[in-house]
């Protein structure tokens, strides 16, 4: 990935600046002092579970919600002072919000036809633009259809074309793949990324699907309970989750209690050097169930009792107990690792453990 970190000293690279934005709905805080930035042409994911405030933040950017406090700037301009219709953000809604009584072509043309007469392109020019956008989203033949006559994936592309028609300064996508089945979702994901790179528009998209965020975005902002927990490139957040929540949210995880004492991490009877900067005292050790190395009972690692295994495509799932906790670990191959057998003791060593204060 040829990602370049944001240079905080050159603001002209920055497109979007969000500073200390808070928003509460009748005492329940939806956003709490959220600050983040996006570079020009960046593809930024807002990732979090439902209720984390990610959609609220997106609607604040669109102007559909007014924050109680904070600042939003776009291209140096005070965005909060602009009403929705003057922000020129293209928004794709979760359920697309296509105008059901208009054809696909009319939907796409809407943003152009509502312009004041002095700025409105000529009829033929609008038709041209619509045809180009239909081609861009690969729906050339469907301009005359109504939204209800389209599949989910087609609707989503119409919504995207409609948003792009106004030549938006920023593109906002709310769970763009949420209502689609898995295969369509993966296809559209790649296509959307290509489209973004072509169009060169700063894009913010909301998702609760960590795989989608990590796969698609330049940077991922992880939210929880209305607060920004971590922001970084997919590799940064995946390799160094800031909190147990982030670790847990980004993929399957195993946790096990331990102790860090004078630079040594001790879990059960296994001791290893603690990572620099690890907290001392009671800790929790987190690791991914597929980032482990197995060894016979006299080897290195956590003592485990192997209870069973199952073949899963290219992987083997190993059911085991470590102390009194049950785990499902994974390794590649079509048999148990050497030295490990069902019903016996073995050892397992997390390859990339994360340690958090308990």
């Amino acid at each position: 990935m040829n990602f370049q970190p944001i240079d905080e000293t050159s603001p002209d690279q920055l497109a979007l600046e969000i500073k200390g934005v808070s928003k509460a709905y009748s005492r329940f805080p939806a956003l709490n002092n959220v600050s983040l930035q996006a570079r020009d042409k960046e593809f930024l994911a807002l990732l979090g579970p439902s209720g984390s405030g990610k959609t609220t933040l997106l609607r604040v950017l669109a102007g559909l919600e007014k924050p109680d406090a904070g600042e939003v700037r776009f291209g140096g301009e005070d965005f909060l002072a602009l009403p929705v219709r003057r922000r020129r953000v293209g928004m794709v809604f979760q359920h697309y919000a296509l105008f059901r009584h208009m054809t696909v072509a009319q939907n796409i043309a809407f943003g152009l036809t509502v312009r004041p007469a002095s700025e409105r392109p000529a009829k033929s020019e609008i038709d041209d633009r619509v045809a180009k956008l239909l081609a861009l989203v690969q729906l050339d033949a469907l301009g005359g259809r109504f939204p209800s006559q389209l599949s989910g994936g087609q609707r989503q592309r119409v919504a995207l074309a409609r948003a792009l028609a106004i030549e938006p300064r920023m593109l906002l996508l709310d769970e763009p793949f949420g209502a689609l089945d898995a295969q369509v979702r993966r296809e559209l994901r790649r296509w959307l990324r290509e489209l973004h790179d072509q169009a060169g528009v700063t894009t913010v998209f909301v998702t609760h699907d960590q795989e989608e965020a990590l796969d698609l975005a330049d940077r991922v902002a992880i939210l929880k309970d209305g607060e920004l927990v971590q922001i970084g490139t997919p590799n940064e957040v995946y390799d160094n989750p800031a909190t147990p929540f982030v670790f847990d949210f980004l993929g399957p995880s195993c946790r096990i209690p331990g102790v860090v004492d004078s630079g040594q991490l001790r879990v059960a009877d296994w001791e290893s050097a603690a990572a620099p900067g690890a907290p001392t005292g009671a800790v929790e050790l987190f690791f991914r169930p597929d980032e482990v190395a197995f060894a016979p009972a006299d080897g290195l690692g956590l003592p485990m009792h192997v209870q069973g295994f199952a073949q899963r495509g290219p992987d083997v799932r190993i059911d085991c107990r470590i102390g009194d906790q049950a785990f499902e670990l994974q390794c590649r191959g079509d048999d148990l690792p050497p030295g490990v057998s069902v019903g016996s003791e073995a050892r397992v060593r997390p390859m990339r453990p994360q340690v958090y204060a308990a």
């Binding site: 928004m91 059901r100 943003g111 509502v114 312009r115 109504f146 209800s148 006559q149």
Partner: protein, 278 residues
């Protein structure tokens, strides 16, 4: 496994019962209205309808409906818009208030205007001093009708608009549309059939309302008697042919509304299925 219970002959029996009930309760009385009206021949039927009082009653009924229905259409759209597209405190109270005229006797809906604007009412003296007539005048009839028919349009629109949500409007705003454009080009087309349907129901009730109108009317012949009141006056005068002739006109107005409603439903259904076709 549960299976649907099959009773041989149940469907024809139910259908026969339904038809019998409809026949006795609706078709028969409606037939009687026209039979009675025409019992003494076409001339005897048409004659009472040519009377100035009768014509005045028809005109007044149409006038009152022509004023009340648009008022309630506008009110209904505004109320449904506010309730379905915005969050605010006291929303359920507002919905209950809109329903109130449905649960309240129409006589009460008439009486409140007398209590407010009648000679002995709160504003009675002031109105008399300024020579403004509300009770025993068209204004009063309109007020009473508006109150009774208040829920029709709003009730028709609220569930639909709640179901549709505010996303399309939000989308229109992000695409640069202003408030009025959004309403005119997005909201209104989405609710047009429900709105027309509500307006028709509202109109039918506005023309047929008796109780509330009767309280504020004072039954001044040729001036404040609407068609339903005119029928009562004639009936009380033992002018049965006249009463039934007027009743047949009122019934016809209702039937026209019904036919329009049915046509709309057909049209709407056609549009719906066209949209569902893939």
């Amino acid at each position: 496994m549960m299976r649907a219970i099959r009773l041989p002959g149940a469907a024809p029996l139910m259908l026969a019962l339904t038809l019998a009930v409809l026949g006795v309760l609706i078709v028969l009385p409606l037939g009687v209205v026209f039979q009675q009206a025409l019992s003494k021949g076409l001339d005897a039927y048409l004659d009472p309808l040519k009377q100035p009082d009768a014509l005045a009653a028809i005109r007044l009924t149409l006038t009152v409906a022509a004023i009340s229905v648009p008022l309630n259409a506008v009110f209904g759209v505004m109320a449904a818009w506010a309730i379905s597209k915005f969050e605010f405190k006291g929303k359920s109270l507002l919905i209950t208030l809109i329903d109130l005229p449905f649960s309240m006797s129409p006589v009460v809906s008439g009486l409140v205007w007398v209590l407010l604007f009648g000679a002995q009412g709160w504003f009675g003296e002031w109105l008399i001093a300024h020579d403004v007539r509300i009770i025993f005048a068209t204004t009063g009839l309109v007020l009473a009708t508006v109150l009774v028919t208040l829920p029709f349009v709003a009730r028709e629109l609220i569930p639909l608009m709640q179901d549709q949500g505010a996303d399309e409007e939000a989308a229109a705003l992000t695409l640069g549309a202003g408030g009025f454009t959004t309403f005119w080009r997005i909201t209104l087309p989405n609710i047009r059939w429900a709105l027309l349907y509500g307006v028709l129901l509202c109109n039918a009730r506005a023309m047929g309302e008796f109780g509330a109108v009767s309280v504020v009317s004072g039954s001044i012949r040729g001036l404040t008697t609407t068609l339903p009141l005119h029928i009562e006056v004639l009936y009380n005068d033992y002018d049965f042919v006249g009463a039934f002739a007027a009743a047949s006109v009122l019934a016809s107005l209702g039937l026209v509304t019904l036919v329009l409603k049915t046509l709309l439903e057909w049209r709407h259904a056609g549009e719906l299925s066209a949209h569902r076709r893939n």
